[in-house]
Structure formats: structure tokens, C-alpha cells
């Protein structure tokens, strides 16, 4: 097992190096650099940078160096000093910016992930054990509806419903009065009244697919002889289903844990933008739009690294969870 993990980790290293380089290239793709973006932004509010000032800024930020030199400076700082650089846009170290928002992001993402699972697994199991029943069809249709509705549209419509019909505060995670208030029961309740929309939006999108996966897996597993064996031991249907086939059918879910790692980190960008969630996703989007090089680059790098790690984690978890692979 350790050999397996070690080998997989070793194989990821070249991928990571390549990925870091690609991350750097992606943010260099658009014409112009941070200074032009910065100048444009100043111009928007009636401030102008002269050519000389622009040149000075470029010199200051080392934007005139060859790309490889810039890359090398960037990556060595990250690897050897844990220094992700400085966000020119926010005037703050990248790590602080990301760190600030990571807590809530992780909370919302994992909550929605758990929520998704709490929906998907029982519904998938139900649909499989009662294949072609009324509720199976109903869940199927709802699942596809959830899958077929663009997230931003759903978020917008839910927001509208909350606003126009339920007359509740929507958008963000807190009403203004609780925004900076210390944690209290009221604040938690306020959070919950805001949280349902993002949870519903994120969960419908994710659950739909997982329900299908779970259902299909369960149908496969339910037909296998060991299920019959379990029944033949006198176990009740509930005991049989939840102890045996569900346990096997969950394997693909376990591999999605790893895959969700980058998503946990970035949250769902679009939903977060629409719902004004204080997560890292909108920060990423903004960083890309303003070509905030170090912030955007760090984001892409972290996302990519998380993807690679996620794959690794999935493989390991799967191996660990499924004895057939573990002892293979």
C-alpha cells in the first residue's frame, strides 16, 4: 500500500511542475500585463498614468524580465518560502487574501457537498430499489431538471422568489446588520435564512448527476449474487441494502471526494458571483479579469495542485476502501 501511494505521488511530480508552468502561461495569455490593467482601472475613475509612470511600475514589478525569469522567481518563492507573492490589485499578500476567504469557502463547499450526498445517496438507493416506481420517475425528472438548469439562472430565480414572494433578505450570507456583528444565535439564524439558496443551487446541480450514478451502481450491485446471499441469511431488506450493495456502490462516490477537492477550494464561481457569496471563487474571477498576476497565478496553481492531489487522494481512498484494489 505504501509502495502504491509512493509511486502514485512520485508520478504526480512531473505533472505538478508542468501544471505550474501552464498556470503561469495562462495568465500571461491575454495581451497586456498588470500595469496596463491597472492603468485602465485608474482611467475608469479619472486617474491617468503617464508612460513614464507605467514604465516605472513595470520595472518595479519586474514585468520586463523574460517570462522564464518571472516564472522562476514566482515558483521558487512559492516552493522555498511559501510566498505566493503580492496582489497588486488588493495591495495585500496573496496568501492573506486567499486565507481570509478560505474558511467560509470550505464551510459552504463542504456543507453543500454533504448536502448533495445526503440527497443523492438515499434517493439513488431508493430509485434503484424501487426501479420504475412513481418516485423513481419523479426523482429522475427532478434530477435532470436540476442538471439542466443553469446554476446562475436557478440562483437568480430563487433570489427573485425569496425577494418578491417570501420577502426575505437574499444575497450574501448575512443581512447587513449581522455582517460585522459577533457570532450570536440570531446571526446563525440569519445565516441559515441566507444559506438555503446557495445550498439548493449547489446541491441540485451536483446531486442530479450523483443520483444517476448511485442509481446505476446500485442497480448493478443489486443484481449480484452476494445480495441474494445476504437475503438468504435472513437479513431484512434495509440491512441487506445498506450493508452490502450500498457499501460497494459508494466506491465511485469516494473517488468523487478527491475530485471535489479543487471545487471545495474555489467553490462554485458562478453561483458565488450571483449570490454574492464571500468565497474564493469571485476573487479568482476578479483576479483574472484584472490580470492580477500573482493572485490569479496562485489560484490556478493551487486549483491545479488540488486537482492532482485530489486524483491521488481518490486513488488512495478507493484503494483503501475497496479491498479488491487494496490487495490486488
Amino acid at each position: 500500500m505504501t509502495a502504491f501511494i509512493f509511486r502514485r505521488a512520485l508520478l504526480s511530480i512531473p505533472t505538478l511542475i508542468f501544471i505550474s508552468f501552464i498556470s503561469f502561461v495562462i495568465i500571461q495569455l491575454p495581451p497586456g500585463d498588470f500595469v496596463t490593467a491597472y492603468a485602465a482601472q485608474l482611467r475608469q475613475s479619472g486617474e491617468y498614468l503617464s508612460a513614464a509612470q507605467e514604465a516605472m511600475l513595470r520595472e518595479q514589478f519586474g514585468l520586463n524580465d523574460p517570462m522564464l525569469v518571472q516564472y522562476w522567481r514566482w515558483i521558487t518563492n512559492i516552493v522555498f518560502r511559501g510566498d505566493f507573492g503580492f496582489s497588486l490589485e488588493w495591495n495585500a499578500p496573496v496568501s492573506t487574501l486567499i486565507w481570509d476567504r478560505l474558511g467560509l469557502t470550505l464551510a459552504i463547499s463542504s456543507l453543500s457537498l454533504v448536502f448533495t450526498w445526503l440527497i443523492a445517496i438515499p434517493v439513488g438507493v431508493y430509485s434503484a430499489t424501487r426501479q420504475y416506481s412513481f418516485f423513481d420517475h419523479l426523482f429522475t425528472i427532478f434530477g435532470f431538471l436540476g442538471k439542466g438548469t443553469p446554476d446562475f439562472l436557478l440562483a437568480l430565480v430563487l433570489m427573485w422568489i425569496g425577494f418578491a414572494y417570501l420577502h426575505i433578505d437574499v444575497g450574501g450570507l448575512f443581512s447587513p446588520q449581522y455582517q460585522n456583528a459577533p457570532w450570536s444565535l440570531d446571526k446563525v439564524i440569519n445565516l441559515l435564512t441566507h444559506l438555503w439558496i446557495p445550498l439548493v443551487v449547489l446541491a441540485t446541480g451536483g446531486a442530479a448527476g450523483l443520483i444517476r450514478v448511485m442509481r446505476a451502481n446500485m442497480l448493478d450491485e443489486l443484481g449480484k449474487p452476494y445480495v441474494e446471499t445476504a437475503y438468504a441469511q435472513g437479513l431484512s431488506e434495509r440491512q441487506v441494502v445498506w450493508n452490502y450493495p450500498v457499501r460497494v456502490a459508494l466506491n465511485p462516490f469516494i473517488s468523487t471526494v478527491g475530485w471535489s477537492l479543487p471545487a471545495l477550494f474555489s467553490g462554485d464561481v458562478i453561483t458565488a458571483v450571483v449570490l454574492n457569496l464571500p468565497t474564493t471563487g469571485p476573487l479568482l474571477l476578479k483576479a483574472l479579469q484584472t490580470q492580477d498576476m500573482y493572485l490569479a497565478g496562485s489560484f490556478i496553481l493551487i486549483l491545479s495542485v488540488f486537482t492532482v492531489i485530489g486524483t491521488l487522494v481518490s486513488d488512495i481512498l478507493l484503494a483503501w476502501f475497496d479491498p479488491r484494489i487494496r490487495y490486488a
Binding site: P150, I270, L284, L288, T307
Partner: protein, 376 residues
Amino acid sequence: MTDQALPAPAAADAAKENLYTARPWQLVWRRFRKHVLAVVSLWFLIILALSALFAEFVAPYDPFKFERLRTLAPPTAIHIFHEGRFVGPFVYGLERERDADTARVTFTEDRETVLPIQFLYRGHSYSFFGLFQSDLHLFGVDDRREQVNLLGTDNLGRDVFSRLMHGARVTLSAGLVGVIFAFVLGLALGSISGYFGGWIDGAIQRLMEFIRSIPTIPLWMGLAAALPIAWDPIIVYVIITLILALIGWTHLARVVRGQFFAIRNEDYVLAARLAGASEYRIITRHMLPAMTSYIIAALTLAVPEMILGETALSFLGLGLRPPVVSWGVLLQDAQNLRSISLAPWLLSPGVAVVLTVLAFNFLGDGLRDAADPYGQ
């Protein structure tokens, strides 16, 4: 002696013989037909595709034509009885008024003007893909000023239904192009990976892992900004779609590879080899046909992803942009509270997206279920 094994000639059981000699796709079709939702979806998509293809004919109005006196008109109510008298489907004229205070435009029905809906109506002329000129439309009302707007109009007085039909053409074809490109790549690399295995497989797997770890949104944003501005937005979009397909193929490749691994070990493949079949023949005659239905199902399920991708990118301002008419672009118009509160009919492209995605999903589901006629 061997004649022993001959079954007694069955009583002319045509149905059964039919089943026995049916081509594989016929069996797929038979199983598919049992899937009511999938069949309905198929029809829906066929009608949609035809409408998109013949958008000029189906759409009563020019999707780019402004009507200054019909901005944000709600969907036209279609009546049948006028003052208790049967007239057949008709619409009333509209009277427009702008609220000086809130600048809202309101419409009231002018109960005097009765405009019967005409089918195969001669309206504005158009050129069908540059092939021929025509002015024939599926329906319309014969009036210089009044219109029938099934889904209302937008803030420039353009007919939303007509735009929806034209948008379908762009959205569906752009989605297909991307999917097909991803499909070609995925099929090629997946089958190479699955057929040869060994270090080639290892290399391709590594490549896939690498490609999958590139985050999409940043890449898209970078590309969108990097392409020359004077290029036609549709071409830019298609190019970006193609480049994204360079990433999107991994999913299909994994499916194909898995299938190849499974089928490679089937005895009938070995049998073909022992019959002296070349690798090309084995792949094309034995392995691929076994996968076609899976692949078609996978494709069917990939198209809605592309459609949703288009709308999401439009939302981020990275996809198609006006004046191109696509569903994403139309939805962009509607994705604000202003539209939801003042002109909810502008959300109809959203409904179209949901229905289409739904239909593709049902179709894909049906195909997947029917894919293996020899499954049970």
C-alpha cells in the same frame, strides 16, 4: 445424424423471426421505443433541430428587426372568440404607452383590431443560407404595425420567439462542433490507449491526468482575450470551443478506453484474430460497433454540457456576444432582476435551455438503456 439438432420448423412465427434477424440498431431502436420520455425527447429535439435549421421559415420576424413601438411587449395573447363570435386563432392589436414617471412601457389590447393568424404567411423576405430567397413564414399576422409575438419582445422590440429560433441554430451547432471534436479526439486516443495498453496507455493516462488538472475558466478567459478582435465572434467561439475540446476529450477517452479494455478480452475478438483479421478490421468491425451505442449515448449526454457551458460562459461575459444570437446571449439579456420583474418572458431562452438539456439527457438515458440489445 447431425440433423438431430435441427429444431422443428417453427410455425410461421414472423414476429419472432423478425426479432432474430433484426439488425443490431433495429433492436436498439425497439428497446429505445419503450422509453416513452426518451422518444418524446427525441421528437422534441428533431422538431427543435428542424426549427433551428429552418429558423427563417419558422420565425415570423427578422430576429434583428427593431420595432420602436413594440419594446418589451408581453407575449401576445391568442384568442379564438371575438365578442362571442368564433373567428379562429387571432390576436388583438396593441396600444403602447410609456409611463413618464417610471419610464415603463405598458401595452393594452386594442379590442377593435382583430388580426387573424395566418399560416404560411408571406412576410419579410430572407435568404435561406444564401441558397434561395423566400418570404414564406410558418405563421404571422397581416398588418404593417401589429405582430404576433409568441414569447413577447425584448427591449428593442425584437420578437423573442424569432430570436429563440435563430439562437437555437447557433447554440446547437456550436455545441455539436465542440462535442464532435472532443469525440474524435477522445475516440482516437481512448481506443489507442485501450487497444494497445502498456506504456502507450500509461503515457496517455498521464496526459489525461495532466489535462484534467488545468482549470477551465482561467484558460477560457486567457484564450478569449488572446484571440484577434476583428474575427467573427462565432468563429472565436468555435475556436475556443475546439480548444476546450482538447481538454474535454478526456472524459470520453476514459469511457472508450474502458470499453476497449473490456471488449479486447472478449472471445469474439480473439476469434476474429484467429480468423486472420487485421487489427484494423478487428477494431472497426468488432470493437467499435460494440461501443457505438455507448458512444452515441455519451455524445448525447455531452451536448447538453456544451449548451450549459455556452450559457455559463455568456454569463461570465466570455462566451458569444451580441449581435450574435444564441441562447446564452439571449439569456444574458434576461439574467437580471429588471428582466425577471419587468419582462419575465425574456427568460424563455432559459426554459428552452432547460427543456433541451432535459431532452438530451432523457435521450441519452434512453439510448444508454437501449444501447446493449444483448445485455439481458
